[in-house]
Symmetry: C2
Subunit: 129 residues, 2 copies
DNA sequence: CTGCATCCTAAATGATACTG
DNA sequence: CAGTATCATTTAGGATGCAG
């Protein structure tokens, strides 16, 4: 399943085979934000789309299926009109929520510093050319 | 810079504007693994490529530039023959390392359970069709 | 060894229209 | 409302060749 011959994350014993695919899922463009958006409880499809902002209906659907496949979120359909579908973190998803929120908080705490770094980097490039 | 009109991660005050771009960088397919691979100290280009496994030269170069631009890693060129280039986490990168390693450890701890979930999900789909 | 440039393919994503 | 399906576009990614 993994192309490279050497271990992906050798620091975690021999079972690192799947660690990589898990990281790839977590490292999806939207997964972190989806999981983070569900931290306070279940949300329905449209609410989730609003909370994330900028994600298309198609991408949200696809990513939700992926996360559901991995057992990180659950999908509940209510037989009503109009139909209502709620997504919620599973127990497994909640355990992932802890490190994910740490990461989101880190991003929030350091976002302006990174912004500064980017500007400095870009400015230095202009000076070279 | 962000398409969606509503706040990206509203749970973090008004400065959530850049949080999203930071999360997108962190959520890059390779960034997590690159940062994780540097946790024990500096690595040169080829060593990094081996440690990650499966990443092409081009992608590694590009991702390293991105991380360098964000001030997360530093690039040091040694004037030798053959040339040697070492990449190392900056102070900012080290602070990110903490939550990143938590995430990697989570992935390692739960990879087999997720693998099971995936198989169950796929099996259930076959039963439907 | 490092890494940039180029070409080319595969995958991700957006827009739109349509269905239960 | 919550999708699915399709098409068109963009982007990521790999392969190769060349340069410092």
């Amino acid at each position: 399943m993994f192309p490279g011959p050497p271990a992906a994350c050798q620091e975690h014993g021999g079972k690192g085979r799947f660690v990589r695919s898990v990281l790839e899922r977590i490292g999806d463009k939207w997964s972190l934000m989806i999981i983070g958006s569900l931290h306070q409880g279940p949300l329905r499809f449209s609410a989730l789309q609003q909370a994330i902002g900028g994600i298309s209906q198609r991408m949200l659907t696809l990513n939700l299926r992926h996360l559901e496949r991995d057992g990180l979120i659950s999908r509940t359909v209510y037989a009503e009109v109009p139909p209502r579908v709620e997504y919620e973190l599973t127990e497994l998803g909640h355990s992932l929520l802890v490190p994910v929120l740490d990461l989101v908080n880190w991003a929030a705490d350091h976002s302006d510093r990174i912004e500064t770094q980017r500007e400095a980097y870009d400015a230095a490039l202009e000076g070279e050319s």
